[in-house]
């Protein structure tokens, strides 16, 4: 090869690489837009994020594929279990969920977009898991399910799943405003030996690596999420507990008021994102 032809070839190669890069950039953005879940949403209210991205966007391609396929998604095992439990009679009142709520695809549609809600008899917030157990103890006269039990997770997946694809829409009213404020304070408060707040990871450094994991914006539109690490779906509160432990803070309890307030605030931050339950994350 003469030196001249070598230079020519190099020039050609550079042109080619630029072309390929352009093409690659173009095609990925097209793919992201096509699946509908990976689009950024403009926040309706002013807070720390300019664009809202679902955790799906930060997941690996393989994990996304697992979530998208109805058969491959392992969360669907819980979804099927939940569907079976919906019509199962339990408790002294001889009732099932179906006895009062009939067809879940109609009665539970949109529920996941507005929970946790203010519950007047207790003068505080309750989330979907607590609502399910309230129904069990008060209407069905049955024993409440344990927080990490297969049944409660299955039912929570089933109820949340009825709103799949609908945008999260938490409205702040006079009733839930004080709890929202508390949740916000929790979000921005530094805690633990590492002295970090939720915002440090999920607002300031989302999209960056924390060791081998990519930090998401911490939205909860896919919960109860099937985590590959857990090898089963888990509740939002379980996730919060894990986060708190990771900054070496003492976590609050599953179902605690602190986490309910935080759940309301974090869900509000993700307003406009579609419900993805059961989502799959690593």
């Amino acid at each position: 090869m003469t030196p001249i032809s070598g230079i020519k070839m190099m020039k050609k190669m550079i042109k080619l690489t630029v072309g390929v890069l352009l093409l690659a950039g173009f095609s990925t953005s097209a793919v992201l837009a096509a699946d509908g879940k990976s689009e950024a949403v403009k926040p309706a209210a002013e807070f720390g994020l300019d664009e809202i991205w679902s955790g799906y966007h930060f997941a690996k391609k393989e994990t996304q594929a697992l979530q998208d396929d109805d058969f491959d998604n392992p969360g669907n095992l819980w979804l099927e279990e939940g569907a079976a439990l919906w019509s199962k009679v339990d408790g002294d009142a001889k009732k099932s969920c179906q006895s009062c709520h009939n067809d879940a695809s109609k009665s539970m549609k949109g529920v996941a977009t507005r929970y946790p809600v203010y519950y007047a008899p207790r003068k505080k917030l309750i989330n979907i898991e607590q609502r399910i157990n309230l129904c069990r103890t008060e209407q069905m006269k049955a024993k409440p399910w344990k927080w990490k039990s297969k049944q409660l997770l299955a039912m929570a997946v089933y109820v949340n799943n009825q709103s799949k694809g609908m945008p999260v829409n938490i409205r702040i009213t006079a009733e839930n405003k004080p709890f929202w404020e508390k949740g916000k304070a929790f979000y921005y408060k530094r805690r633990g030996q590492l002295d970090m707040s939720c915002a440090h990871c999920h607002e300031k450094y989302y999209g960056k690596h924390i060791r081998s994991n990519v930090l998401s914006q911490g939205h909860i539109n896919g919960f109860p999420t099937y985590r590959l690490k857990w090898q089963k779906p888990g509740s939002v509160h379980r996730r919060f507990k894990g986060c708190n432990k990771q900054v070496r803070a003492k976590p609050y309890g599953l179902g605690s008021d602190e986490y309910n307030n935080l759940e309301l605030y974090v869900k509000w931050r993700g307003n406009g994102l579609p419900v993805e339950t059961p989502a799959v994350r690593n």
């Binding site: 058969f71 392992p74 095992l77 297969k150 090898q231």
Partner: protein, 107 residues
């Protein structure tokens, strides 16, 4: 709790290559974990084998070991020889066999 799910197309052409998928909900207790309260080792309980037959003829088999994660998933390509029944058999430690069957109609 071990509920199987399988995906076999209802109709296919003879000679066509189709994808068969299977998943079984199972804890896959590795036998290396300890009970946090008692400190005792939780005995191993995993699905240790999968056997798939089509009209009685073996078409796919696998032996599973403790490092396989929960809810084992298997998918494979299958060349359709004709109509028949596809039977999945998972064997659990202790000898319990869980089966699932789907019929395939070939045109």
């Amino acid at each position: 709790m071990a509920k199987p799910r399988i995906k076999v197309p209802k109709m296919a052409k003879v000679g066509e290559i189709v994808e068969i998928k299977s998943m079984i909900s199972h804890k896959m207790e590795s036998g290396r974990r300890k009970d946090k309260k008692t400190g005792k080792v939780i005995p191993r309980k995993i699905i240790n084998a999968l056997k798939v037959t089509f009209n009685g003829k073996l078409v796919f088999s696998a032996s599973l070991h403790p490092s396989v994660s929960a809810n084992p998933y298997f998918a494979f390509d299958f060349k359709v020889p004709g109509s028949g029944d596809m039977v999945f058999e998972w064997t659990e430690d202790g000898g319990k066999v869980i089966t699932a069957k789907k019929s395939l109609k070939a045109a």
